[in-house]
Symmetry: D2
Subunit: 385 residues, 4 copies
Amino acid sequence: MNKRKIAVVITARPSYSRVKTVLKAIQDHPQLELQLIVAASALLERYGSAVNYIEQDGFQIAAKVFNVLEGENLTAAAKTTGIGILELSTVFDNLVPDIVVTVADRFETMATAVSASYMNIPLAHIQGGEVTGNIDEKVRHAITKLADYHFTASENAKQRVIRLGENPDFVFNTGCPSIDIASDIADISPLPFDPYEKYGGVGAKPDLSNGYLVVMQHPVTTEYKDSRKHIEETLTAVAALNIPVLWFWPNVDAGADGTSTGIRSFRESNRLGHVHFFKNMEGGDFLILLNNAIGLIGNSSVGIRECAFLGVPVVNIGSRQHKRDRGYNVTDVGYDKEAILEAVQTIISNPRPQRSGVYGGGTAGKAIAAILSQTDLRFHKTITY
Amino acid sequence: MNKRKIAVVITARPSYSRVKTVLKAIQDHPQLELQLIVAASALLERYGSAVNYIEQDGFQIAAKVFNVLEGENLTAAAKTTGIGILELSTVFDNLVPDIVVTVADRFETMATAVSASYMNIPLAHIQGGEVTGNIDEKVRHAITKLADYHFTASENAKQRVIRLGENPDFVFNTGCPSIDIASDIADISPLPFDPYEKYGGVGAKPDLSNGYLVVMQHPVTTEYKDSRKHIEETLTAVAALNIPVLWFWPNVDAGADGTSTGIRSFRESNRLGHVHFFKNMEGGDFLILLNNAIGLIGNSSVGIRECAFLGVPVVNIGSRQHKRDRGYNVTDVGYDKEAILEAVQTIISNPRPQRSGVYGGGTAGKAIAAILSQTDLRFHKTITY
Amino acid sequence: MNKRKIAVVITARPSYSRVKTVLKAIQDHPQLELQLIVAASALLERYGSAVNYIEQDGFQIAAKVFNVLEGENLTAAAKTTGIGILELSTVFDNLVPDIVVTVADRFETMATAVSASYMNIPLAHIQGGEVTGNIDEKVRHAITKLADYHFTASENAKQRVIRLGENPDFVFNTGCPSIDIASDIADISPLPFDPYEKYGGVGAKPDLSNGYLVVMQHPVTTEYKDSRKHIEETLTAVAALNIPVLWFWPNVDAGADGTSTGIRSFRESNRLGHVHFFKNMEGGDFLILLNNAIGLIGNSSVGIRECAFLGVPVVNIGSRQHKRDRGYNVTDVGYDKEAILEAVQTIISNPRPQRSGVYGGGTAGKAIAAILSQTDLRFHKTITY
Amino acid sequence: MNKRKIAVVITARPSYSRVKTVLKAIQDHPQLELQLIVAASALLERYGSAVNYIEQDGFQIAAKVFNVLEGENLTAAAKTTGIGILELSTVFDNLVPDIVVTVADRFETMATAVSASYMNIPLAHIQGGEVTGNIDEKVRHAITKLADYHFTASENAKQRVIRLGENPDFVFNTGCPSIDIASDIADISPLPFDPYEKYGGVGAKPDLSNGYLVVMQHPVTTEYKDSRKHIEETLTAVAALNIPVLWFWPNVDAGADGTSTGIRSFRESNRLGHVHFFKNMEGGDFLILLNNAIGLIGNSSVGIRECAFLGVPVVNIGSRQHKRDRGYNVTDVGYDKEAILEAVQTIISNPRPQRSGVYGGGTAGKAIAAILSQTDLRFHKTITY
């Protein structure tokens, strides 16, 4: 029997971390063949060279597509998507997958969705149905309308996909695959590696043995003109702390320049003797680092998902995770240094929050692979109302 | 006061016909400035050179974009869309419109929608919310999720857009602008021009004074491998008639080759002494021709919309107009020569059907322009549930 | 030992015919691995689907790239080249060839040359150094300046490449690979197949047993506005003949519409009882057909090259083969029905011309493969003066 | 009378500086209309936002094209060129220029050359015929073979273009337009502005009143893997000096990452109390700065051209300016800290070199505009041998 060929397109470092267990489960499934395509910022050094981790993790790459247009403005985001369609169509034409899988809602994932759906290749979407209120939401729901199978991360998300007119037979709440990894590492402590030694980075090297905070704040597409101002509030708050801080560099996005420039400039004019900056970290290590942290500050989705499962307290800043389902671990604050500082103090003085299964229990990867191996191949659908 | 700049992207001959009154109303509106962009098959001779009609109608073109990739397969459709995004982004970047308008659901209209929404330019969509059950539907609903304003052609369509989670304040049932033109010509008879002389074409030139049928059948994207077989059923049925037939050449679409090849090949091996073939016809003349016809055969949307308003009987073949709202004038049949022939006989022997306002009453163009001039500029939205 | 990977990009039916023996020789060479990339019009049905012949001939295709932009105008030619670069770069990045080979001077071959040379992949050019005086010449010499190895078809061409400042150590007069095939079939007669039966086509089926003429006339890029007028001169001349004529459809090129439209229109209004039209023919069969013909009319390079070797008389029309080296078999005429007719009469009444080795003796394919297997890998060069 | 429309495509900050007087002369010419197109890195903040200077200088921009693909590797350079062709073709199609002008030999200038020549628009090339021995040379000579008019910067370059087979009637040694600006500023001293205040930048702010050195070193495309090692030699040499140093950030090019990373990393681990870093400077100010400097270190072409005219001593490092014509002011050294240091000492202890007219005398802009206004419009050419 021929194996089903499942093409998965990875376009960014965080997407790779999120679906790594899906890739593994597809690769290991006796009836599936993985066709891994690495594109966009996942190939770029500036954004953490996810491609290197992918190769180190033993995945074979079927095709690489460089399609990020420079500019870090909105025009460039649109054009990156256009180039992605142009090239992914050729890749699909040559690889002839049975199903294409696209992940989440980054702008360039639309390229995968358009290419596959236009070519009548059944399209699976991981992580549809969530609500955030920005451009990502337009992208996410538009992809839902192009996709034939939906693997949602929560029950709320599943219900929303169904309300969008999708056939319930093809909407599956598998939980978020990012939780799969979190479920493996949940009990490791203390930190089994030295992050400075293993991941380099720049800045101070404060002693981490008495606790530390992690910061990860990305620019928000619809607010990109303010991204420098926003990051400066966080920088000022962090500067006022006297706890060790491990700060992770932002992803590519329109506005990355504002965020990056803000960080660089602040560093040059302020002493940050307790802060170390990392470009990136292997996903499993990052979760261990979080699990051992006093808390996470910023707007990363890891704070909403993995940290909900792990019970790591999170100070979530601004609109980026707006309206996503939350566990018991999140304190929401605005772009405001005082509010950030106050929320951090509260975290420090309170016990660790309860764990939550809102984003699944650690079996998403295998569940998705199983469905992909059995589901009817379909690319023809109609709205249910 | 500065006028609002409204960019409208026209990518095909039938789209132009459909929204001509919108373009006129924008052009004539004291607070609006029209930025007309002509792209894709609207520029190509093979598909009727809509660009020539646009210029003859006195519209000034702000930019032309050639982006149709050859192949007439699904890969080419995807790539055409990718090139469209790449180039329309540059065009929008240079023209700086306040609102971008995209029309209907042809595959390449996604390019307009992605470019505008990704660039945070408010996006208006004409003719969302309809149901057809093919790739067009994926495209149409995905564009709804990217668009900020919705101008629907019927009340059902409006309700469907709202169910898709759009804010009702920005969903407007203006009726279909194609009806605007139909409302102007409804009473002209007999035929005020000689179609053979005015539009050339090839084949027999049967006398039209005792009535004639019109045929217009496009390939269906999701059935493109069968497009030749499908057209042959219609050809066989038409060959068996003894009424004059005016046949219009299909649009570009994946599968055009099958349809076109089928027609060419049938013509070479069959005498069609009562059939004349046209490449295209100016929209107003085409409606007059339809209004004076015994009926229309095929799968054109004109049979569903304008003919509903005009009360012209239609034999609608196959799945292309599946699930669209219907007036009182449509007989649906499969790809089956017998069924087609029988339906034509029924049309001939029955009185003309009643007119219907299901697709509006002839004021859509002005209504759309008025809303565009007054609505809040928005590009930030969230799903309503 | 690892084999050298040789990527050859085929973009059109005639290019494939020309270098087939090179492909074969690379495939058969113990130290070489062939990476065959099929792109542009070689993939399109409208231009003879070279890809089908390639597969039938047993070559494995490493990648297909659809990149022909519609329009058949000069803008489309430029854009086709741009898309080609964009996509071939990805293909090369994924295939990692040691040497890339590009053929001749069609506009889109520039895409291969730019991608390879910009990526520091050693670039070999087959058929540089020829003179024709049109856009092809700009392309050809520009590619020479990008290429690292040069395989010319004649001694004159070799000398010209050297005068262009190329290092003589890397300029090889191997002869034209198209002659390799001609050298194999030179003695076959009478026609060992029925062309009507084997290749279909349309039009009359005149008896070929008492001799026939072959016509093949392509549009000329720099004269594309006149292509219809030019083809009509030939059509009128051919209509006046009373010898069987086998007419081959033109390639894609800016202006194909004029040539094609001219032929279609002439056919509709003139009886051509002695003319049969073919879309294409397998290269070996075509040479046999030519070798058995009274002569060839048109502007195909086959008249200049293969027919020189075979000694088939040629009436060469217009500027397309201007300044190329000639054997003893060519009569040059302008776009003038009288002159064409007169030249045909002269051919008929004269003995078959002498054979010429100006374009090589039939070993080009093997010679090129041998050099590719041994030459230093280089992509760094400087002009010699 | 209609003015001739002259489209000039500017793709990088240094190209703008170089041809500013040409743009001015075209703009001021009564028979010419300037169509200025700004593309590629000229639009990007990372590379000095040339577009801002262009607008400040009062030029109106007809179109902007973002086409730089990220990656800073060779694949990205090729793809940037492909996107450039795709989009510039649309721009030319919409602007309908009479002549297109392209500048020098940066990789992406090939896009301008291919688009214009393929569209039969007469193409003028500024600064052909020079010899450098790297990928720039392939690009430069290939553009010569696509161009119809040649404006060379020196007599040697003119002779080389003619040897490349170009018609001498269309090859003009106008001198380099960069000298036009240098001829205006030649006598200004002392520094009429405070560079720290006017241009910001980072690092130390040494007192400049007793002399200073300027450094500008770009990565070399064909050596991009070594660019970090190369820059470190220069950094080490500079670190050992005790004279004020003004260091300018490199252009975009494959390898920019190596150069930039090298500089950033060196700065973090070394005290450079006498070095200030600038991102960019307006061209006129930069020349004043150079003219008042003790000397220039690096591999910028400004050292070869403007500094030859001004008589500013230059330590020219490595292969980037290899084989270009030199005045009396250049000391060539390898990528070797000792050699760099020694050459700097020699400059300091020797009198200022004599001025040279090898790159023209300051009238290139006007000469080029005059020729563009009078020359025959031609796009059809053939090699002269």
